[in-house]
Symmetry: C2
Subunit: 213 residues, 2 copies
DNA sequence: TAAATAAATGACTTTTGAGTCATTAATTTA
DNA sequence: TAAATTAATGACTCAAAAGTCATTTATTTA
């Protein structure tokens, strides 16, 4: 992320925006929106502050742009995984949760929910975009999975929309937690939290006494 | 909260601190730490900005003091409820969740988790205090309930600490949600979310096939 | 009741960081 | 290769809000 200061005046029109967004992601996630300084982002991206304004209108614009750029691709990946899958839904759910954590859990990307939630009141347009394009879309995906599970007889008759909210909340909670208070708490295994939670959840919505997980 | 401007120079040494904290709670919860102006808090509390500095060292100090003052009493209430209770733990859990939402859900207090999470990186001492004095203490309370349920034969043999984390997360998530993105999403019933979640959770950890909820 | 004390005020100072722009130099075009 | 273009720079400006303090006035004390 930190570019070598080797040649200061190098022109790199194409690469700059994504490099700036990478740097912004790091800094915004670490300090929150208000406490992030454009000078820091610029330094991390290997440009001067002035250059930021060639590519983004303002700090707020950079923030919004970053969230959009970073989050949409992740969602698209998840969608294609679900669409391509055939088999027991319980198994799909379990593997998605663990895989999601294995990949995203390491990344700065999982700091995004914390950021959006923190700044929702100050960036209503961003919040609206996020709810419409990320949350509703993600919830629809999960609700679809649950519907498939109900139809196949794996799950009992429950409201798929609420069940989706319930299933998503601990995953989002885990990423918020990881990016905020986890370092002040006892060492503990977020992956185990997610696995155990999924197991309890699946047991809770299963039609039969025992689930095969 | 907003004091009448009736008599500007009125001296109210005793009442000021709690009035300022009430105002601070409102403003901080609504805008987040950085975007909150001391002038606004002062106006809401019916004092001048200068007066804030008679009672609090700085904006940061006011913020920390507010979190501590507001959160501890709530925790104490919950503890005495649990200690006084006798009967099925599942029933206690259900009634605590719904009651908690009925009282706290209306209050500004449920904006505190969002605030602490947002500012954890900028206020490490506050984060540490919060984890130790609120989160761990609350988790201990819940883990104790679950242990009682395991011993009484209501619940199967699970790790009470992780089970507590799992039980708490949707409740915290609900308050974060309510204070951030809920207004941008479709109208939906957070209470129903919590009740359904609790039901699934209890079914997921119950020893018997059917729970009596 | 007069003097001493300290709560309350708000205009002022200071700091901080977003945003600007004249300048520099790489790249493109003629 | 010279001229035109535009990416890149960073010192500067400016606004906003935290924090200060001399002044005002309520309350307490002698």
């Amino acid at each position: 992320m930190v570019k070598e200061q080797a040649h200061r005046w190098q022109r790199r029109k194409e690469e700059r925006p994504s490099e700036i967004i990478d740097a912004a992601l790091e800094v915004f996630v670490e300090h929150g929106y208000a406490a992030s300084k454009l000078d820091d982002i610029a330094r991390k991206a290997g440009v001067s502050k002035g250059s930021l304004y060639r590519y983004f209108d303002s700090k707020a614009d950079l923030f919004k742009e970053m969230v959009m750029q970073v989050v949409i691709p992740e969602l698209e990946k998840a969608e294609s995984t679900v669409n391509d899958y055939q088999g027991a839904i319980a198994t799909l759910i379990t593997s998605m949760v663990t895989n999601w954590w294995k990949t995203m859990g390491e990344t700065r990307v999982c700091g995004i929910p914390k950021l959006v939630i923190s700044e929702a009141a100050n960036f209503p347009e961003l919040a609206e975009f996020y709810v419409d394009s990320v949350i509703k879309r993600g919830r629809k995906l999960v609700a679809g999975m649950i519907k498939r599970g109900i139809e196949s007889g794996e799950f009992r008759e429950i409201d798929p929309d609420y069940a989706a909210r319930i299933m998503i909340s601990p995953v989002v909670f885990a990423s918020i937690w990881k990016e905020s208070l986890s370092s002040f708490d006892d060492e503990y295994d977020i992956n185990h939290f997610l696995v155990m939670n999924t197991e309890i959840f699946l047991r809770g919505i299963s039609r039969n006494r025992e689930t095969d997980i």
